[in-house]
Amino acid sequence: MKIYEFQAYQIFIKNGIPSPWGKVAKTKEEVRKIAAKLGKPVVVKAQVQVGGRGKSGGIKIASTPEEAYEVAKSILNSKLKGTLVKKVFVQEFVSIKEEYYLGVTIDRSQKRVVIMISPFGGVDIEELVKTNPEKIYKFYVHPLLGFKSYQANKLASVITKEKNIVQGIARILSIIYRIFEEMDCSLIEINPLVVTKEGSLFALDAKIIFDDNALSRHPEISRLRDVEAEDYLEVRAKEAGISYVKIQGNIGCIVNGAGLAMATMDLIKHYRGKPANFLDVGGGANSQRVSTALDINFSDKQVKAVLVNIFGGITRCDIVAEGLFQALSKIEKKLPLVVRLSGTNEEEGRNKLKEITGILLADTMDEAARKVTEVVKN
């Protein structure tokens, strides 16, 4: 689960990570007030849950409250990488001498938590990965030992020789590792961590992603979710136990299992069609879930036809057919539907579907993908 920068900032502040004072705002008037109250130059930052906002004009500096107002006017309610900006974070401006990168995440191949640090932080960190990967230092945490302060000191001293800065960075590293463990994160990133001209250390950005699998043991984190930031169809799907991600295309999909869903999308593309979504109804899908999945597809105005590809294992084909039957009897405006059912109780499922007019049946997923792309073309 992703959260906004200002939420991550609040977690940082609570845990003692030095960050310039800041406050979140929803309107340009609020931004002016915050800047006036502070009486110093500010940075106005768009609060969106997508990366690369600095390069897309989502971060601007303002030296007066009036300027802050104008800057906020240009950022608020604008679209940044397709996302509507509803909030900005107004933070005290600091002058930068050095920019570092700090990150904690899980390395899937090493099966360990990895702590990363680089003396070359800032917007071009990913470029650095390609050109000078040796400039990013990694430390793998022993699963039973954890991350000790002497290790933090050693790691921090790799990027700078200044003693008090080393100490400061080591302290921050220890804190972010503790937050990572205690709050079950999958990522914490500070990019950049800066040394100001006055010689102070500040986290100028705050990024935290939480492990969805662990949310059930952290109710306080679940409350940070901004349902409004998510596509409402995605929220609806999630509530029904369906994995759904909308993309640009016009062929809706309903599939059981993530791997099969991706294979289905690939096959649609192979026949020069454009899948409109990734939709996995999950294992043991019941007729209610199938019905919701159909409804989600029909609610998406871009969808011109729907492909249902079910391989019944634990999921029974007759139950899926029942769900389709129920959903279709309630919906007035129908879209072309191509259905492929294989596996457990496929005969019963197919017979049920024969009762419904307008459904195209297919024996294999290849045939189904071919049929649905033809339907859309015509």
Binding site: D184, S186, L187, N213, S216, A258, G259
Partner: protein
């Protein structure tokens, strides 16, 4: 032969009294798997489908001689079930449960290695050696005994491939669903190694997907260490770019984990990549013909 599970498998079902546990106990028994005992804390003394239920894994192991466990315990308790099975000395643990916190798995992975137990999963469909034993949730009837080994991160996509192979007369030695979570007990490489040493297996199908770098390691392993032919299928070419994890993901591996990137790695080593699940059959047929 076959790998991991066979007619000598003596299975324990952890979470046997639950909805999933009891349903699949029936299914596995019907397939012919030797289920020896079940465990649900506090429910010892009952019988489920005629199988005795114990309170602890230790009790079941001491009384019944068990060498494999399958876990259907709910996510909140699943990690404890893995530790309990490991501590009772069970050498093969298959965890079906989905939704185990990743940091819990980081610790468990280390512990399992230390104790010398093999974990398949979590969040997987399990393992089946057709005609011998089914330790998982896959529909048994789509399989057929034969000489193709299958390794996959997915569930239903594996069924799709198996179904197509069986229809065309290509049976399977063992099908292993390793699971889709970030941290899993056994990687592609671990299972490839087992297949390479298995006399029944003549060809292997590896089914991968976007995310992580396991496929890349598998490609290197196949190139350097394997004599048996391997066919691959990588899905997710059209998938939405993986929800970006800041910069950290790219920094660790230096790669983005896209399907295209993975396909290219296999192709660079001249390992055949199927375009779709149907084409897997043609490629398998081709490599088996060449061998004969």
């Amino acid at each position: 032969m076959s790998i991991l599970v066979n007619s000598n498998t003596r299975l324990l079902v952890q979470g046997i009294t639950g909805k999933e546990g009891s349903f699949h106990t029936r299914q596995m028994l019907d397939y012919g798997t030797k289920i020896i005992a079940g465990v649900t804390p506090g429910k010892g003394g009952q019988k489920i489908e005629g199988i005795p239920v114990y309170n602890t894994v230790q009790e079941a192991v001491l009384n019944m001689g068990i060498n494999t466990s399958i876990i259907f315990v709910p996510a909140r308790f699943a990690i404890k079930a893995i530790y309990e099975a490991t501590d009772a000395g069970i050498k093969l643990i298959v965890c079906i449960t989905e939704g185990i916190p990743v940091l819990d798995m980081v610790k468990a992975y280390y512990y399992l290695k230390m104790k010398g137990s093999v974990l398949i999963g979590p969040n997987c469909a399990g393992v089946i050696s057709p005609g011998k034993a089914k330790v998982g949730i896959m529909p048994g009837y789509i399989h057929k005994e034969g000489n193709v080994g299958i390794i996959s991160r997915s569930g239903t996509l594996t069924y799709e491939v198996v179904y197509n192979l069986t229809k065309k007369g290509f049976g399977q030695s063992t099908c292993v669903s390793i699971g889709g979570d970030p941290i899993i007990g056994s990687s592609f490489v671990n299972i490839l190694e087992l297949f390479e040493g298995d006399s029944q297996t003549k060809a292997i199908v590896l089914i991968g997907e976007i995310g992580g770098a396991d496929e890349e390691e598998a490609a290197k392993f196949i190139h350097l260490k394997m004599k048996k032919p391997v066919i691959t299928l990588i899905v997710g070419k059209t998938a939405p770019p993986e929800k970006r994890m800041g910069h950290a993901g790219a920094i660790i591996s230096g790669r983005t984990g896209t399907a295209q990137e993975k396909i290219k790695i296999f192709q660079n080593f001249s390992i055949p990549v199927a375009e779709n699940p149907i084409q897997v059959v043609d490629l398998v047929s081709k490599v088996l013909d060449e061998k004969e």
